[in-house]
Symmetry: C2
Subunit: 191 residues, 2 copies
DNA sequence: ACCTGAACACCGTTCAAGT
DNA sequence: ACCTGAACACCGTTCAAGT
């Protein structure tokens, strides 16, 4: 059996949102790609918001699983963060796309409330994973002050990598991403 | 005499793009704000792209003048970069808006070519100013290798601050911006 | 010089109707 | 269970027509 209509809608929608954003996602264009009429999409996803909530949820799940797998394979912080920045780099490689949640983060003010909540969840997942990575070589027994500093550094790495991707996306220039990541490492922001 | 119609179109359009993005800018809504009909906007700006090119150009000019004035008042890198991050913070304070060019950077793939070019110009202006700031206390006589390192660090600061703004915008949470900027400083990325 | 209504091909959404 | 055409109020853009 081949991929379900529902799956094909979600996959095509995800690629379009990462390319053109929430506002750039058209039900009529989407329907053409899938081979049905635009009214039929509403059978699977009543509104555009519900469709995008579904694709962001799955996006978070899959990337969380990917990152957790990396964590099992290595405990070297430099290696793990290197895989992390490579993940964001691959998105740019794939048709100058942006992270799904990064794109939606910029469009936040025109999103339905439930989509906004998923954008926040993406950030929380990233920060949680980075906290684990940053603590992995310290024995993990720092006092409360250290935990706060680690959390803020994790959020800073998430924001900085997201920003590097946005700037490189805006220029359609992967070299810009690479230069910025290298400079983050040189400054000590990235381990 | 009061503000011209053309000025009022540009000001309202800028505020909307920083709020809802290029895709979220509607000529009909814009016309209502200015008190004319949507067809009349095309008299001043034939297309949406030409309108946005005009507002980004002025945005760049005004921020460049603002930053250059700061540079005359101080040569302390910490103080100057502090003013720089405050500038991006004020945008968030003003109705959770994003930097005009940052918003457009995310929307890049659905922009006309001439708008894309202005987004690149914004980045070049930011980098140029930051290079001046970073070099200001070194005597400015580094060799070629230093100049390259300074340029990459300037671009990294630009990307990192833009990313902090995007993440805070996505959460509608200024405290997130403040925490990330503080962590950049602690890591040594920001002077 | 400045503004407008009407038309065009788009958009998300709804709904009655088909199989 | 799954799909559709037609309608609705939106969108940027064009253009002939008004003052």
């Amino acid at each position: 059996m081949s991929t379900s209509t529902r799956e094909r809608i979600m996959e095509a929608a995800r690629l379009t949102v990462q390319d053109l954003g929430y506002g750039g996602l058209s039900f009529r264009e989407l329907a053409k790609e899938v081979g049905i009429k635009s009214a039929s999409i509403h059978y699977y996803f009543p509104t555009k918001g519900e469709l995008v909530v579904a694709i962001v949820r799955r996006y978070i799940e899959r990337h969380e699983a990917f990152l957790d797998d990396l964590f099992i394979e290595s405990v070297d912080r430099g290696v793990l963060v290197g895989h992390y920045t490579e993940m964001y780099r691959r998105t740019l490689r794939n048709g100058n796309r942006m992270c799904l949640a990064g794109m939606l983060s910029a469009e936040r003010n025109e999103l339905p409330e439930d989509v906004r909540a998923e954008v926040v969840r993406w950030g929380e997942m990233n920060e949680r994973w980075l906290v684990g990575v940053l603590a992995s070589e310290d024995g993990g027994n720092g006092d409360g002050g250290d935990a706060d500093r680690t959390r803020h550094r994790a959020r800073a790495i998430f924001a900085a990598v997201s920003g590097a991707q946005m700037i490189a996306h805006g220029r359609n220039e992967i070299a810009a991403y690479d230069d910025v990541i290298a400079a983050y490492r040189a400054s000590g922001l990235l381990p």
